[in-house]
């Protein structure tokens, strides 16, 4: 009989793997190796390190996306270099936490800024907004699974990607 802990651990393992890997050819993984680097830094002294950094990242997303939206809202007088510098910031922080899709979008977004492509920028902004929120929801689910495992008396499995 499958215990609750074993079930939760299996769910956790499967979900983690799905976040890193391509499920279909057109769907990129949400996370890359840098997220694994982040996990390495979590220890007994800082047991919530990953959650804290990830939380900072999502706050950063909100702030930067707000900046970009405001800059793009200046119809007829858009400062593309301002948008570009926010995109650069976002690329930096998404790269630091392993947010693969957000980082990928930032590359395209930067190109649109450099070529002053307004429609392109607006599209990228919408996509980045969707993407970070999607990742936020998925990581929240992952953290919830971790908590459930611990509450059920189990150990969080080490998942090798």
């Amino acid at each position: 009989m499958d215990t609750l802990v074993a079930q939760l651990q299996r769910q956790f393992r499967d979900y983690t793997i799905s976040l890193y890997h391509q499920l279909f050819w057109y769907v990129k993984g949400f996370l890359d190796d840098q997220f694994t680097e982040l996990k390495k830094l979590q220890d007994e002294c800082s047991p919530d390190f990953v959650a804290e950094v990830v939380s900072l990242f999502f706050e950063d997303c909100e702030k930067l996306i707000g900046n970009m939206a405001r800059a793009l809202d200046q119809t007829g007088n858009v400062d593309f270099s301002l948008v570009g510098s926010s995109v650069h910031q976002l690329k930096g922080s998404s790269s630091s936490v392993g947010a693969k899709r957000v980082k990928g979008l930032c590359v395209t977004f930067k190109e649109c800024c450099d070529s002053q492509n307004f429609e392109g920028c607006v599209r990228c902004l919408q996509q980045v907004d969707i993407e970070y929120k999607s990742l936020k929801a998925k990581l929240q689910d992952l953290f919830n699974l971790e908590q459930q495992i611990v509450q059920a008396g189990g150990r969080i499995p080490q998942v090798d990607i």
Partner: protein, 174 residues
């Protein structure tokens, strides 16, 4: 050529080895003569004893600040964090000094290139490692010429930080 996966050049003479840690597939040699640490990457990072090295993180992004601070912490390197090149200059003007400075390139008020130049002009001889996501050859050259000792592309990892320390000949005491 190697023995047990450790390159022959990393071997130290018998009797000179101060401490050896074996952790999964990683081996750390501490030679009391040279006090140099070399390591192979392991799945998990063992905590190193306090190294008595000091570092300054210069970056305008909170996520990066947190990451770099923690990476240095993990290697036992006491570190301070500032938000831009101007603050990096100011903290030195106030009399603080560091063995290593991790300098981001793009920052407001005073960027990494300007800050590095200013620190060198002030006579600061600390090792400065430029860290940036923007790494085209022109930018890298300009940054290096400002007075860097090393350059590393972000995002930083434990292994990249160890490479920096190794290239800058930093000895970590145990």
């Amino acid at each position: 050529d190697s023995e047990n996966g450790v390159p022959a050049s990393f071997k130290v003479p018998a009797g000179v080895v101060h401490k050896i840690f074996s952790y999964k597939s990683s081996v750390i040699f501490c030679c009391s003569q040279e006090r140099k640490i070399r390591r192979e990457m392991a799945d998990e990072v063992p905590s190193l004893a306090e190294s008595k090295l000091t570092a300054l993180v210069v970056d305008d992004n909170f996520v990066n600040q947190t990451m770099h601070h923690k990476l240095l912490d993990r290697l036992g390197i006491q570190n301070d964090v500032v938000c831009n090149g101007q603050e990096a200059v100011d903290v030195h003007c106030s009399g603080r000094n560091y063995d290593l400075i991790l300098m981001d390139m793009e920052m407001p008020i005073l960027n990494g290139i300007q800050a590095t130049k200013r620190l060198r002009e002030m006579g600061i001889e600390s090792k400065i490692a430029g860290v940036t996501t923007r790494a085209n050859e022109g930018d890298k050259k300009e940054f290096m010429e400002a007075g860097l000792n090393d350059f590393q592309e972000k995002p930083l990892t434990i292994s990249k930080l160890l490479s920096i320390l190794h290239r800058l000949d930093f000895y970590v005491q145990t």
